[in-house]
Symmetry: none
DNA sequence: ACGCCAATAGCATGAATATGCTATTGACAA
DNA sequence: TTGTCAATAGCATATTCATGCTATTGGCGT
């Protein structure tokens, strides 16, 4: 039986192109192409594709969400992210979401074909730049990992925020005034580009800045 | 000037073969081959090779140690691990040690050449099986799941809390009243045994309940 | 038909948080 | 020596949050 492929991408021209090209390959069959992941769960349940080509930036339900949805629904589906170069945070989320490969959109069609063959044989196709970034995530002391230039004190305060301490408790533990705590948190928010504690906690945990 | 390469491998026959083959490639020059990493620091200081081909299993000072030594001595050296399939722990150590690539010994010489070209162009060559294992390191272990008996709505609200939405925004997105949002959050706190939003976010992310 | 519970909604209130300013001190680099 | 910056601290204020109650509705299982 043919290898079935589903395509998620909000660019309809690209979807068409990929559908035609992939459909023309011996042994491949495109079982559907979609502009976002809103119906992903149902689509995967119905078609059970072997491989999913997944864009990231899509309206409503994006590719990161889609990845999670599909992997939850049917973990054995091979998902190849196919997107422009995204920020490290998104790449990280893709990796943690269980993506089976990550190919940049500026790669040739041949590379995409190779990537599909690769996952089908148990490999993990990564564009060179992506592979490099992936390795950089492992470096404890590295320039690729997200660094927000928090001071020691700010990191300490952030740690308490993650623990759910109130400002008052933080002030007590750090032996500083409530207003100083406020000051540090103000700076933390500014550096992390967030504007409430919960968002700061999310960023701290996701980006591992403890 | 030629790209200079140093080879560390305890198999003398393989060292010879690689030296001859690589030395025969236009633009490459092997500046030395060694049976372990005991003298690695001195060797790198003296020869300053562009690329190091590094075996792992070697007597006395192995490739993992060698990797650390060389990266400490001269971080800009590209190091390609070249070894049989090792256990995950060693792979992890290589990644954290700053290896620039990881090629299995059962790969063809052509693949090794491609790998060298790849690192020289800022990529990160990984054998398919290795790439797959690398991606697996990112998979969070998710046995927990549904342990807190949150309802669908509560899970949805929690998701927004993680995103840092205010109650008002959540109410808007869910098309329910502010007071209902409060009610859900009240229940979420109770079920998660927390008493503020930041703590709930921490628990949600750490326990993977999204 | 009955009870259970999720989802909805309202009201009230004190505590906590977010954010607008300013200002001093000490360390360290240009 | 001057300038930058982290750490400290204060004040004011508007908003948000946490939590105490109660109450209606619709679904689901027995």
């Amino acid at each position: 039986m043919a290898t079935t492929i589903a395509i998620f991408d909000d660019n309809s021209r690209l979807r068409e192109t990929l559908t035609v090209l992939l459909g023309g390959v011996e042994g491949y069959s495109v079982c559907g192409d979609y502009e976002n992941c809103a119906q992903a769960a149902g689509i995967i349940k119905q078609h059970r594709p072997d491989v999913v080509i997944m864009d990231i930036d899509m309206p409503d339900v994006d590719g990161i969400e889609g990845l999670r949805i599909i992997k939850e629904q049917r973990p054995e589906t091979y998902i190849i992210m196919h997107t422009v170069l995204e920020d490290d945070d998104r790449l990280f989320q893709c990796l943690c979401g269980g993506a089976n490969g990550y190919i940049l959109k500026n790669s040739s069609f041949v590379h995409l074909l190779e990537a599909i063959e690769n996952v089908l044989h148990g490999g993990a196709p990564l564009s060179p730049i992506i592979a490099k970034k992936v390795l950089q995530f492992f470096r404890p002391t590295n320039p690729g990992r997200l660094q927000y230039h928090l001071s020691d004190r700010e990191r300490e305060v952030l740690k308490y925020l993650v623990k759910g301490f109130s400002y008052k408790m933080i002030a007590g533990h750090c032996h500083i005034s409530l207003d100083t705590v406020r000051g540090h948190i103000r700076n933390i928010y500014s550096k992390l580009h967030v504007n409430c504690g919960r968002e700061a906690v999310t960023k701290a945990l996701r980006d591992n800045i403890l």
